[in-house]
Symmetry: C2
Subunit: 171 residues, 2 copies
């Protein structure tokens, strides 16, 4: 292409190219972008989750929520994180190579999530490197964004996963 | 006391000194340390949460979990975070001054949480400052650690809350 031509827009994939039970460290590449979902947010589930884990009035009581700064019921941020995790487990995580996660960074709740919202999860692999101490595994970092039906990013987080390699490398 | 005497160990408080509906920004002070709980982790709840939000085999299937690197069923890290949130809502959060949270940093899953564990949450206020742009509110940062019955820190996180002030200050 000529130098004045714009590069093609990266179209996120919606399906991981390797089956969950054949997915190893080597299948995650920096620059890969996925868009998974949708998942629908229901009022019933918002209230049920919050009653158990985050019973603040604007998460559990529609009338009180209308009077709050949010103007209506919103999902607990931890509920949104849990919905994200489910989508990642269903679409992105390996069932054979996962070695857990040491944690996440910069979890941000950027906009309210409301009953009736339809969420999608955009996952961009930002780092994929072999462990320097253990030759059987690698570290995959991803930036995950949760988008609503208006393409507003309602949540973002930097996630880290440890994963077995298909072929152990040199240390 | 003499100069050779050790300072008294800081004893965390287990009850917030101001009622939830009278609690404002001014009631959170840097250096305050609380220890809340306990909360018991049951196998039933571990599996129920994970079936819905994090159905990896070592969270939902006791037999598969025994064969995993974890040697038995462990709670989803998001479940541990949700249990922490419930304890914070019950013990630390204001019901009148809360303006939500922009997010958390450095969420770390440091050790497995297993059915039968009894968790407590240690909360240390690390920053409390008035907003520079909005005189009616302040920002409270806390380091939260989740401890098990052996006093092992199983999770930690840096939390941020926005809170109304009892008395608006100068901008």
């Amino acid at each position: 292409m000529s130098s004045t031509e714009a590069p093609p827009a990266a179209v996120p994939r919606s399906v991981f190219p390797v089956a969950p039970d054949a997915r190893y460290f080597e299948d995650y590449h920096v620059g890969d972008v996925y868009l998974f979902g949708p998942v629908d947010v229901t009022q019933e589930e918002v209230i049920e989750f919050a009653r158990r884990y985050d019973p603040q009035s604007f998460h559990v009581d529609p009338a009180a929520a209308r009077q709050s700064m949010f103007g209506g019921l919103i999902a607990s941020g931890w509920h949104t994180a849990a919905l994200m995790m489910r989508v990642l487990v269903d679409n992105f995580v390996s069932t054979v190579a996962g070695l857990g996660s040491p944690g996440v960074d910069q979890l941000r709740w950027l906009a309210p999530v409301r009953p009736g919202d339809r969420l999608r999860m955009r996952v961009a692999v930002t780092e994929a490197r072999r462990s320097q101490s253990k030759r059987d595994r690698g570290i995959v970092r991803s930036r995950v964004e949760v988008l609503n039906q208006a393409d507003v990013v309602v949540m973002s987080v930097e996630a880290v996963s440890l994963m077995r390699c298909r072929k152990p490398g040199p240390v």
